[in-house]
Amino acid sequence: MVLFVWPWPSRLFIMLGVPTLQEIIQLDEAGLVEALQRGDDAVFTVVMDWYSGSLLRLAMAYVPSRAVAEEVVQETWMGVLEGIARFEGRSSFKTWLFRILTNRAKTRGTRERRYEPFGLPGSDFEGDEGPSFEDSLFVAEGSGKGYWIDPPQGWEPDTPERALLSKECRTAIEVAINGLPDTQRQVITLRDVEGVSAEEVCNILTISETNQRVLLHRARTKVRRVLDPYVRGGNL
């Protein structure tokens, strides 16, 4: 249905507010690209609104400050305008957009980032990790080998809601994500926070599927570990 509506002034159905932008983009990406090429203010406004937060979040996984991340996002949109005439839809618009961002952010990141070893001494986020970095959670020797030292507790079914309502807990999650090694942070930001498919994450970050899963696994494991004390025993 949206397909029929598209050529109409986009402002009209944006006002009607029926399909979400995500639906529009999924259903009619060619229409979206065509509207941007033609210079449609309303479509640009909505698309920019929709994606800039995600772009900003990802940019912060490359550069040291929010201010620089904002500049990277601005540059990304300029890159979109430069390239939109030549966009042929070989990848999805979203993948293309995030690729522009990662290219610009990498350039800025290497220029600006003060390099420091991953994690601080004594923090949970020890560096780039051997093959089995969960070792510390399990019995290493003897008859109980491979069993939990401290078996995981059940989290109540309303845990996600409660965790998200607690400012303290949200802050702890953000801090945990910020403290991850860059590549892990990029993967978890795209895959989990932004909900991008695994395949697209691989395309955006140009990493293999296996690598994507390993990085995602480590990142998720660390975030879970940070969450646990908040959630355990009804601390929220």
């Binding site: 002034p9 090429q37 033609r38 210079g39 449609d40 203010d41 309303a42 640009f44 406004t45 920019m48 609104d49 800039s52 937060g53 995600s54 900003l56 979040r57 912060m60 904002e70 996002v73 601005q74 949109w77 300029m78 305008l81 089995s132 969960e134 070792d135 959670l137 399990f138 080998k145 491979g146 069993y147 939990w148 078996p151 995981p152 507790q153 059940g154 989290w155 845990t159 996600p160 965790a163 998200l164 949200r170 999650i173 953000e174 978890i188 989990d192 926070v193 909900g195 695994a198 599927e209 899963r213 995602l216 696994h217 998720r220 494991t221 975030v223 879970r224 969450l227 646990d228 959630v231």
Partner: protein
Amino acid sequence: MDRNFKQQLMGYLTGNFSCQDIAELITDYLEGSFTLTQRLRFQMHIGLCVACRNYLRQMKYTVAILRKLPAEPVPPHMKEELLKRFRTWKHEQPSSGSSSDS
């Protein structure tokens, strides 16, 4: 059916996965990169082990929480600036893109 066979079958199905194996493979499982046999073995362990069942649930909740983190706020001045630049860009385009924004 004799007991020996049953035990063998159970051993085969759970594939001797330890709890640590489960923890290490959990993302592969959640991301759907397992073969059917691996999947069955994993699920068999999860079915028999409360701790790992809890852990799996914790991981699912962790993902659910991440997915719902509030969006990164975009400062209004940045949006205004971008729209301004978009309009400038539009006017610099060759005439083929006639102004359709009435």
